[in-house]
C-alpha cells in the first residue's frame, strides 16, 4: 500500500517526533510543564501516565491541535504538523464517527481529510475491513456497528492513507481482550513496515509488551524516558527466600528491612550478588526450601519512578482493564 506523497524522506530523520521544553497551561494549571521528548523513527514509543498526567495534552500539542505556551515541536522534521497531515495518522482518546455514515465511507472520509482521493480511500477501506474481519460491515452505517467494531473502523481510518507516523491516544481503552490483541498485532505490523508508532496508555502491560521506548509522565512532567529494560533496571531484582527454620546465625545475611511472611523473606538482591548470601544461608543451616530472584516488572518500576500516588490510576495488566 503506497502512502500519500510525503515531503520528508525518513532517511534524513533520526526522530519522528521531537519536543523540547513543551509547556501548556490552562489558567493556573500546568497540564504540561516543560516536557522534552524524542521518538526515534520506526520505533513503538509509549507514553505512560495516570489520568490527568498530561498525556493527551502533550499529544495534542505535538500534533498541532493546540499550540504550546512554551517550547517547540517537530513532527517528521516539520514544525507545523498540519503541513504534514498526509504523513500522520491520529486516533484521539474520544472516539468519534458520523453515525449515519457507512463504515467504508467513514474510513475513506478520514483518508480524504489527509489527502487520499476518495475512490482510493474506499478501495483501501474495503480491503482493510476485509483484512480485519469486518468485510460485511463495510456498507453498514456506523450507528449499526458495535462499539468495538466502530472503534476498529476509526482505527482503520487512521491508517488508511498509509501514514509514516501514527499517534494513538489510549487506543486500548474500551476494547475487549480479543480486540486489544488484534490492535497489538496491527501496531506490530505497522511498525514492521517502518511506521513510527506513538501511543499513550495507562495500561502498563501494553507498553511493556509493545514498546521499545517509553516515557513515564506524571504531573505534567516526564519522570523517566528510555527503554522498558532501563526502566525496570531502576529497581534491583527481588530475592524471594523460603526457609524451613525461622531463626539461626544465617539471619545476619538477610537484610534487616526484608519483608517477612512466616518463613518467606523478600528483599532486594544484595549489591554484592547472590553468592555470598547463598553461602551464608547454607553455612548457617537455614534449610532453604526455595530461593528465587525476580526481575521487577514495569509496574514496579513505574511505582518507583512516578510514586505510589501516580500509580494508583494505572492498570498493571490487561485483565484489569475494563471490558477485558
Amino acid at each position: 500500500m503506497n502512502g500519500v506523497s510525503d515531503p520528508v524522506s525518513p532517511n534524513h530523520l533520526s526522530y519522528a517526533v521531537e519536543g523540547h521544553g513543551l509547556v501548556k497551561r490552562f489558567g493556573d494549571f500546568h497540564a504540561v510543564d516543560g516536557i522534552d521528548i524524542a521518538v526515534p523513527v520506526g520505533s513503538i514509543y509509549g507514553i505512560l501516565g495516570p489520568n490527568g498526567a498530561g498525556k493527551t495534552t502533550l499529544l495534542r500539542m505535538l500534533l498541532g491541535i493546540i499550540d504550546p505556551d512554551g517550547g517547540h515541536r517537530r513532527l517528521l522534521g516539520e514544525a507545523q504538523p498540519l503541513k504534514l497531515a498526509r504523513a500522520i495518522g491520529y486516533l484521539p482518546e474520544e472516539r468519534g464517527l458520523y453515525p449515519a455514515m457507512k463504515a467504508v465511507e467513514a474510513i475513506a472520509f478520514m483518508g480524504a481529510l489527509r489527502g487520499l482521493p476518495l475512490r482510493e480511500g474506499r478501495r483501501r477501506g474495503r480491503a482493510l475491513l476485509e483484512d480485519h474481519g469486518l468485510g460485511e460491515a463495510a456498507d453498514k452505517p456506523v450507528r449499526a456497528l458495535s462499539k468495538g467494531m466502530a472503534q476498529t473502523v476509526q482505527l482503520l481510518g487512521t491508517i488508511v492513507h498509509a501514514p509514516r507516523l501514527i499517534v494513538l491516544d489510549e487506543p486500548f481503552s474500551g476494547l475487549d481482550a480479543i480486540n486489544q490483541g488484534k490492535l497489538e498485532a496491527l501496531i506490530r505490523r505497522q511498525a514492521a513496515d517502518g511506521v513510527t508508532i506513538l501511543f499513550s496508555t495507562h495500561v502498563i502491560a501494553h507498553a511493556e509488551r509493545l514498546c521499545e521506548r517509553i516515557a513515564i509522565v506524571a504531573g505534567g512532567r516526564i519522570r523517566f524516558e528510555g527503554s522498558v529494560g532501563a526502566a525496570r533496571d531502576r529497581l534491583r531484582p527481588q530475592v524471594r527466600l523460603e526457609t524451613r527454620r525461622s531463626d539461626g546465625p544465617w539471619r545476619a545475611a538477610v537484610p534487616a528491612d526484608a519483608l517477612v511472611e512466616g518463613n518467606v523473606w523478600s528483599f532486594p538482591l544484595p549489591l554484592d550478588g547472590i553468592e555470598p548470601l547463598l553461602k551464608a544461608l547454607v553455612d548457617g543451616d537455614a534449610g532453604i526450601e526455595s530461593l528465587s530472584i525476580e526481575r521487577p516488572g514495569l509496574h514496579d518500576a513505574f511505582v518507583a519512578i512516578a510514586g505510589a500516588e501516580a500509580a494508583r490510576d494505572m492498570v498493571p495488566a490487561i485483565d484489569e482493564e475494563d471490558g477485558a
Binding site: I65, A85, P99, M101
Partner: protein
C-alpha cells in the same frame, strides 16, 4: 491556499451529501412551499375579503331618488379614478332611525347618512366620521350636481416609459429583491448556528482539527450549507414559477431593474451567497462556542434580532441612494449586500458592485479568522496562557501604568 480549499471541499462534500440524502431535507424543501400553497388558496379569499368585508358600510336613509343619485355619483367617481370605492353604500328605508340602524346586529353599519342631499347628516363614531366624511361629501356633491357637473375631457398620449415611473418601478424591484434576499438569508443562514454542534457531540472535531486547518472546517461547512441553500432556492423558485404560470400565465410581474434582468439576477445570487456567508461565518463562529443545542437555541433569538436590524438599516435607505445613511448601509458589511441589491435595481453602474463584493469578502475572511481563533482558544483550548489580543492589551495597560 490550495490545500485549504481542498480540505474545505472534503468537509463540504461530506456535509452536503449528509444533508441532501437525509429525510429531514425533504421537510426542509417542503416547508417553505406550504405557505406558497396556502397563499394561492388564501389569495382569492383574501381578495374577496378586501373587496367586500373590509370596506366600511354607509347606511343611507335618504329618499329613494336621492339614494339613487348618490349611488350614481359614486359610480361616476369610480369611473374617473379607476379604482374600487373606499366605502360601501347600502340603502335602507327613508326615515329609519340612525341610532337603531347602527345598533342592529348583523348589518355591520359604520355610519348612517340621513336627512337630504342638500342637508346631509352623518351619524356614527368619531373615528368613522373623520374617516368617511370627505368621501361622502364628495359623492354627495357629485350627486347634487348631476348632469350639471362639467366633465373635462382629457386627451391622452401614451408613452412607453417615464423617468418617474421608471424610478418607482425600479424602487419596487429593489425593495422586493431586498426583502427576498433578507428572508432567504434569515431562513437559511441561521441553520449554520448549530452546524458545529454535531461535530462536537460526535467527538469528530478532534479528528478534523488534527488533519486540516480549522479555517477549512469552517469554510467547508459554509460551502455545504450554501450549496444546500441554493438547492432549496432552486426548488422553491421553480415551484413558485410553476404555480404563477398555472394561475396567472407567462408574464413577468416586476418592472426591469436598471441593470437588466440577467445581470441583476446574477448579482442577486452573488449577493445572497455573500450575505449568507457573511452572516454564516459570524454564526458558525458564535455557534461553535456553544456546547449544546440548547445553547444554540438560546443565542438564536438575539442573532435573529440583529439580522432584522441589519436589514432595517438597508431597507430604510433604499430610496436615498448616495445619502450618508445609505452609504453607511453600503459600507457596513452585514447590511451591505441588502443595500447593494437595491442599488442594482436602481443604477446600472457595475463598478460599485465589484468594490462592494471585494469589501464584503474581505469581511468574510476576517470574520472566519476571528471565529477560528475563538474556536481554537475556547473549544480546542489552544493558545491559552494569556497570549491573546485582549490579554496582551491588559498586560500593556498594566505595564504602562507601573
Amino acid at each position: 491556499m490550495r490545500e485549504l480549499l481542498r480540505a474545505a471541499f472534503v468537509v463540504a462534500r461530506r456535509d452536503f451529501t449528509a444533508i441532501i440524502f437525509s429525510k429531514a431535507f425533504i421537510l426542509f424543501l417542503i416547508g417553505p412551499l406550504l405557505p406558497l400553497g396556502i397563499g394561492v388558496v388564501a389569495g382569492g379569499l383574501g381578495q374577496r375579503m378586501a373587496t367586500e368585508s373590509l370596506r366600511p358600510v354607509v347606511g343611507i336613509t335618504l329618499s329613494a331618488k336621492e339614494a339613487q343619485a348618490l349611488e350614481d355619483g359614486q359610480a361616476r367617481l369610480k369611473s374617473l379614478f379607476y379604482r374600487r370605492p373606499a366605502i360601501q353604500l347600502r340603502r335602507y328605508a327613508a326615515g329609519e332611525q340612525p341610532d337603531a340602524l347602527l345598533a342592529r346586529k348583523g348589518e355591520r353599519i359604520n355610519v348612517v347618512l340621513s336627512g337630504t342631499l342638500d342637508r346631509p347628516v352623518l351619524t356614527g363614531r368619531q373615528g368613522d366620521i373623520d374617516r368617511m366624511r370627505g368621501d361622502i361629501a364628495l359623492i354627495a356633491s357629485i350627486a347634487r350636481a348631476g348632469s350639471a357637473l362639467p366633465e373635462t375631457a382629457v386627451t391622452t398620449r401614451i408613452v412607453a416609459d417615464s423617468s418617474g415611473a421608471q424610478q418607482q418601478a425600479r424602487l419596487l424591484t429593489g425593495r422586493l429583491a431586498q426583502i427576498l434576499l433578507f428572508l432567504l438569508t434569515m431562513l437559511l443562514a441561521g441553520m449554520v448556528l448549530s452546524n458545529m454542534v454535531e461535530e462536537k457531540t460526535n467527538k469528530i472535531i478532534e479528528i478534523l482539527a488534527a488533519a486540516i486547518p480549522v479555517d477549512a472546517i469552517f469554510l467547508g461547512k459554509l460551502m455545504a450549507m450554501l450549496a444546500m441553500s441554493f438547492v432549496g432556492i432552486a426548488v422553491w423558485s421553480s415551484a413558485t414559477v410553476a404555480v404563477y404560470t398555472v394561475f396567472v400565465g407567462i408574464s413577468f410581474p416586476l418592472p426591469p431593474p436598471a441593470m437588466g434582468w440577467p445581470l441583476f439576477l446574477m448579482l442577486a445570487a452573488v449577493y445572497f451567497a455573500t450575505a449568507y456567508t457573511l452572516l454564516g461565518s459570524l454564526f458558525i463562529g458564535i455557534g461553535a462556542q456553544a456546547a449544546t443545542v440548547r445553547d444554540v437555541q438560546t443565542i438564536s433569538m438575539p442573532i435573529t434580532m440583529t439580522q432584522v436590524m441589519f436589514f432595517f438599516l438597508a431597507s430604510f435607505n433604499v430610496d436615498r441612494m448616495g445619502q450618508p445613511m445609505e452609504l453607511l448601509a453600503v459600507a457596513f458589511p452585514f447590511s451591505s449586500p441588502f443595500a447593494m441589491i437595491a442599488r442594482a435595481a436602481q443604477s446600472d453602474a457595475l463598478l460599485p458592485h465589484l468594490a462592494a463584493l471585494a469589501w464584503q469578502w474581505l469581511w468574510v475572511a476576517l470574520i472566519i479568522r476571528i471565529g477560528v481563533r475563538l474556536f481554537r482558544r475556547n473549544v480546542l483550548k489552544s493558545g491559552g496562557g494569556g497570549r491573546g489580543f485582549f490579554s496582551r492589551l491588559r498586560v500593556s495597560i498594566s505595564r504602562s501604568g507601573t
